[in-house]
Subunit: 187 residues, 2 copies
DNA sequence: AAAATCATTTGACAAATATCAAAAAATCAG
DNA sequence: CTGATTTTTTGATATTTGTCAAATGATTTT
């Protein structure tokens, strides 16, 4: 749990009561490999923080599933667009391995943010951080070749290589399974 | 200026003094076609709102410039990562045509957000909106073919077709000038 | 352990797009 | 207006990556 506290305190020291108010609104939950946190078509009511484990977010394109992101320990994860708009999600999120998560409902989060000014400030900074990351991902996908994208993934999230299947990684990197297999063979 | 007010009020009715406090921190500025709002290498100190005109954001890849986004009237624009982190920008932003902008400095914005709670809330919602848009763009670029990406641009931002050059649009859509030219010929 | 299922690799070929070169069209300067 | 420059289009070819099919390897089930 201190992982969550540390992540929150990265930006500013929160007052004790804000931190406490926030933490006690959440629940710990454990899910096992392949279980879904969020299902396409449903409204995403929950923001998760990964205490242990890793998850994968994906869409369906025709019949195949296409990976959008991988998230590891100490990251917040939700179907952002569904969580924010409270409309049905297009995205699925599933556990890549057994996970321990901290979870807070949309309603509780909104109430907590409204109550504690310093928490609202932290939430804003989190949003900013996530925005920048997404922007980096977009630019990265524009500028790099298939091989460079793979090498970059190894550098940034090496753990993913062990935890996700070739198919999941390939769709994340926007290439076919075969192309990824050939890139790996060439290294 | 009421365009800016409307955009802010889209989320919640701001108190009169918050709105006033915010608006009077900004300045109106006019720039002519091709002038730069933000230059790569410099720290981006300003958040702009486009009252009239349109702008283009781009990076340099080797020697060529690659368009990252187009922004039209009634949108906020800045080099988000530089503005947020206050580190040098990798991004350039230039006017596609003569523009009228509203501009607020990072320092003034931060002070204003700290002073007016309801403004901070609006800023958060703006961030959320921009996040969702970026996410859509990322997914969109993953799922569509060259032709579909062009048709989507026509649907979403038809004005851009008139205002930007073929080269600018091609790099935005992640294809060569020649491919774009052929797609246009085939319609 | 053998059979069955699933995931990954390899090969042959096809499709999409990029690159290079040149022609045509549009824009600009004097 | 006219020649010069730039932008866009068109054509020929090369490259990258995808698709399909088969082979190999790994994992699970009985």
């Amino acid at each position: 749990m201190s992982k969550l506290t540390e992540t929150l305190q990265k930006f500013v020291d929160l007052e004790e009561k804000s931190l406490k108010g926030f933490l006690e609104k959440g629940k710990i939950l454990r899910i096992s490999k392949s279980e879904k946190l969020i299902k396409a078509g449903e409204i995403c009511e929950t923001l998760f923080f990964i205490l242990e484990g890793s998850v994968r977010s994906f869409y369906f394109k025709d019949d195949k599933d296409v990976t959008i992101s991988f998230s590891l320990e100490e990251e917040f994860i939700t179907s952002m667009s569904s969580f924010i708009t409270q409309k049905p999600s297009y995205e699925n999120i599933e556990a890549l391995e057994d996970c321990e998560l901290w979870a807070i409902s949309h309603k509780d989060l909104m109430e907590t943010l409204a109550r504690y000014r310093d928490l609202e400030y932290v939430y804003r900074q989190l949003l900013e951080e996530y925005y920048i990351r997404l922007e980096e991902q977009l630019i990265f996908s524009k500028f790099k070749t298939a091989k460079e994208r793979y090498l970059e993934l190894i550098k940034n999230k090496p753990k993913i290589i062990q935890k996700a299947s070739v198919g999941q990684i390939a769709s994340f990197l926007d290439m076919s399974i075969e192309t990824l297999s050939r890139i790996r063979a060439s290294l």
